[in-house]
Symmetry: C2
Subunit: 153 residues, 2 copies
């Protein structure tokens, strides 16, 4: 969709968005994190056009966020599984999900919950905390530009 590349920006946010590719990609990742692995799973869950899904999956594989592997269950069809890079996008997904739950919840309530896999209990929210676990207020958090000499060598 974007027609301009962010990859030459030095900002990590821009560079991450460039890798992810598009909105659809994030929803594909959401499904992948909830266990989807096959083309048809994504297709049905998202209601996305097949050609678009093909393209988005290929691009995520290209970015090494997903990996295409032979099916674990012996099926002839490949599966798309998260790489470590991909799994580490979880904080982004969790943060997005959390914001949506709070500010734009669906009338029927949220549809996803983030839990401790072992106990099934809901996790506390993802939010800035100090090393010792203490929660921070947003006005205590600063985002700062790092100054840097234009040349390096």
């Amino acid at each position: 969709m974007k027609t301009k590349s962010f990859s030459d920006m030095q900002c990590s946010i821009a560079r991450t968005l460039e890798q992810v590719g598009s909105w659809w990609s994030l929803l594909i990742l959401r499904d992948a994190m909830m266990g989807a692995r096959r083309f048809k799973h994504f297709e049905r869950s998202l209601g996305i056009a097949k050609n678009t899904l093909t393209k988005r999956l290929a691009q995520l594989v290209d970015a090494e966020i997903l990996e295409r592997v032979a099916a674990a269950d012996g099926s002839a069809y490949d599966e798309y599984v998260l790489t470590e890079r991909g799994r580490e996008l979880a904080p982004v997904m969790i943060a997005l999900s959390q914001w949506g739950d709070k500010w734009v919840a669906h009338p029927n309530g949220p549809s996803t919950e983030i839990v401790d896999g072992a106990t099934g209990e809901r996790l506390p929210k993802i939010w800035p905390r100090r090393e010792n676990g203490e929660w921070m207020e947003l006005n205590e958090v600063g985002m700062r530009q790092i100054e840097r000499a234009p040349e390096k060598d």
Copy 2:
């Protein structure tokens, strides 16, 4: 970019993306979090086309993520400032930035740092933690679909 609306999906991630609007919006928010308030600040910092910027700002205002207010310094030009909704997107931005720093860092190194506003010290990363502050492994974190009756009344 997308031509299909996510707003009828019940998923909070989809609904959040719908509100945010586009990649550019996230970069606008990044700049807003770093102190940008005026049209020209965003324009220069992002290298974005003016019409696109106009549209994105309008849409963020519409989504109540930004608010358009008279300039604090008496200038005739309005300023765009984050609302609470907008400020609460910080965890998303931080998570994106962090992932980029780790996986797709610019050759010159990252350009942004997240700090404790009071001390100037870098904050620990945004990552799933238990209530007591203990860090979790990603494989301990589950994302689960909440089952729900299709009707409500």
